[in-house]
């Protein structure tokens, strides 16, 4: 496959840039819905499995997950076909102009295409597996995580392509929303520890709790789609998880969920620290180390209260590895931000766009 970049063209006067974006096409709002639907479905499904036991194909939580998978499949294809703008940021493959953010969502869609039959086959061959970290489940979660990450990249690129101040603000907010859902998907990998039903050693809990939030928080603190972006991302994440908990409690009243509730990780302090430390331009490894320590310390009282046993063996191995992971992900988060915004001075100068969306 040969990939070449497209040439810039001057936009025809008849084409309104305000109409030629992925928000107006409905792609971004529906992707947000898909990301939230998937998060709701997975947490509800775990709660269902814990207290209500095995289930059938079409349970309410499963339906939310299927909706998320359907959205990621349909919307990535739809956006790739409909978006015909020629900007320097789009990739040209044959007749197609491919939006980089949508391409990332499409990678997630491809993973979902693999996951759906593979998971069914896995269950038929090896029986019911009761862990979120079953290999096929991990592939499915990774695919839906890319919905959040790809949505964030898509929103950011739309912000760069837009020439209108109000539109740029809108894409700044949608970047924030996708960052919060991506943080939600990142933290979903800890769900079994949050429900206190781990099927893997406890050392993974402090390890991943120290490391995983750092990537999103450093990325969004560097991009700064709105002031205090990492803090707002963490606040939105907490709000989403609070609403999910509320939903679980409500549905339990109708015998549609169990009694077991997940712990909600405290990431607001980490978000605040990310915003402050990125402004101070700390070396990335220091940034990652400090954020890892803060994530661990901020959650320690919650972990104690939830009777999750961070025993000495788990801490001795999990904490150093978690801090190392946090440093690596701080590096990666900053590198992704640098790829999206190589020159912060140019951040508000729109990239020129040629032609329009084929409607």
């Amino acid at each position: 496959m040969s990939v070449k970049t497209s040439r810039m063209e001057t936009p025809p006067a008849s084409v309104s840039r305000r109409e030629a974006d992925l928000w107006n096409l409905g792609v971004l709002p529906i992707l947000v819905l898909g990301s939230l639907s998937g998060l709701l479905g997975v947490y509800w499904d775990i709660s269902w499995h814990i207290d209500k036991g095995r289930d059938t194909f079409f349970t309410p939580p499963h339906n939310f997950i299927y909706l998320a998978i359907l959205i990621v499949l349909v919307m990535s294809l739809y956006a790739l076909v409909r978006d015909r703008r020629e900007s320097p940021l789009h990739l040209t493959v044959g007749r197609f102009r491919l939006h980089p953010g949508v391409l990332i969502v499409s990678v997630g869609a491809a993973l979902e295409l693999f996951f759906t039959p593979a998971d069914e086959l896995w269950h038929r061959l090896f029986g019911m597996d009761v862990t979120l970290w079953a290999p096929m489940h991990l592939i499915g979660v990774m695919g839906l995580s890319l919905l959040g990450f790809g949505g964030l990249i898509t929103s950011w690129i739309e912000r760069r392509l837009s020439a209108h101040r109000v539109r740029q603000q809108l894409f700044g907010y949608s970047s924030l929303l996708f960052a919060a859902t991506f943080l939600g998907w990142s933290m979903l990998f800890l769900a079994e520890y949050e429900f206190n039903i781990p099927a893997f050693p406890m050392l993974w809990h402090p390890l991943l709790l120290a490391g995983l939030p750092t990537f999103t928080l450093v990325l969004v603190a560097n991009l700064r789609p709105v002031p205090w972006a990492a803090t707002w991302t963490a606040v939105l994440f907490t709000l989403i998880r609070g609403l999910l908990a509320g939903w679980l409690m409500t549905s339990a009243g109708f015998d549609l969920a169990g009694e077991t509730r997940p712990l909600i990780p405290m990431l607001i302090v980490s978000g605040l620290a990310a915003d402050l430390l990125v402004r101070r331009r700390l070396p990335r490894w220091q940034l990652g180390f400090i954020l890892g320590v803060i994530s661990l310390l901020a959650n320690l009282p919650l972990v104690e209260a939830a009777k999750i046993n961070w025993h000495s063996g788990a801490l001795l191995t999990g904490v150093p590895l978690g801090l190392a992971l946090s440093m690596a992900l701080a590096y990666l988060g900053a590198a992704v931000a640098a790829a999206l915004e190589p020159n912060p001075v140019e951040a508000d100068r729109p990239v020129e766009v040629g032609r329009g969306v084929q409607v």
């Binding site: 990739l91 090896f126 290999p135 077991t260 063996g313 992704v336 790829a339 190589p342």
Partner: protein, 186 residues
């Protein structure tokens, strides 16, 4: 058929039936360790000590996950605790049973899909004092005939797909970076 032949046939039939039940039993659940459970009871609302000794000792410093739930109607949320081994194969949990009555204690160890479960049931008395002893066995949760390496193969597939995805995403982001730098220079 003569009467003594009938008796032989009946005995052989019983033997085969017993063998079939035994074979089915061993195939349905892969056997892990045997467990001896001591519950040292102080009564409801007081710390109760649960000691589990596994034989052969569970190796690899596996943690033991306890899922303790009341079997009475209208009882509260279950209790969940995870305990590392104090010494190889020995696990000790101290826990308050909030109310008297029948309680189930489910235990499991293992990693991922390869989990082993055991269960005992006890009655907690309001003023109970004393030690109860139970013998149990840990049985595998995977279907019979499923080789243990499937989990490793599955993770290898996941790892491969993760690497391919990361490479593709890196290529896309590199393209965006190159084009933005070019745009800024013009």
């Amino acid at each position: 058929m003569r009467p003594f032949e009938k008796r032989y046939c009946f005995a052989i039939g019983l033997l085969l039936l017993w063998g079939a039940v035994l074979a089915d039993h061993t195939e349905n659940g892969r056997l892990g360790s045997f467990g001896t459970v001591h519950i040292v009871e102080q009564g409801a609302g007081q710390p109760t000590r649960i000691e589990v000794d596994t034989d052969p000792a569970v190796t690899g410093r596996h943690e033991l996950h306890f899922y303790i739930f009341s079997r009475e109607v209208g009882s509260g949320a279950p209790l969940r605790r995870l305990i590392p081994p104090g010494e190889p194969g020995r696990y000790v949990l101290e826990i308050d049973f909030p109310q008297p009555g029948r309680w189930g204690v489910s235990m499991r160890y293992g990693v991922g899909l390869d989990l082993y479960y055991a269960f005992v049931e006890t009655v907690i008395e309001p003023q109970g004092l004393g030690t109860k002893k139970f013998a149990t066995s840990f049985r595998g949760g995977l279907d019979s005939g499923t080789p243990r390496y499937v989990q490793s193969v599955g993770f290898a597939v996941f790892g491969l797909l993760a690497i391919i995805s990361l490479v593709l995403i890196s290529a896309v982001l590199r393209h965006v970076k190159v084009r933005q730098v070019g745009q800024a220079q013009t």
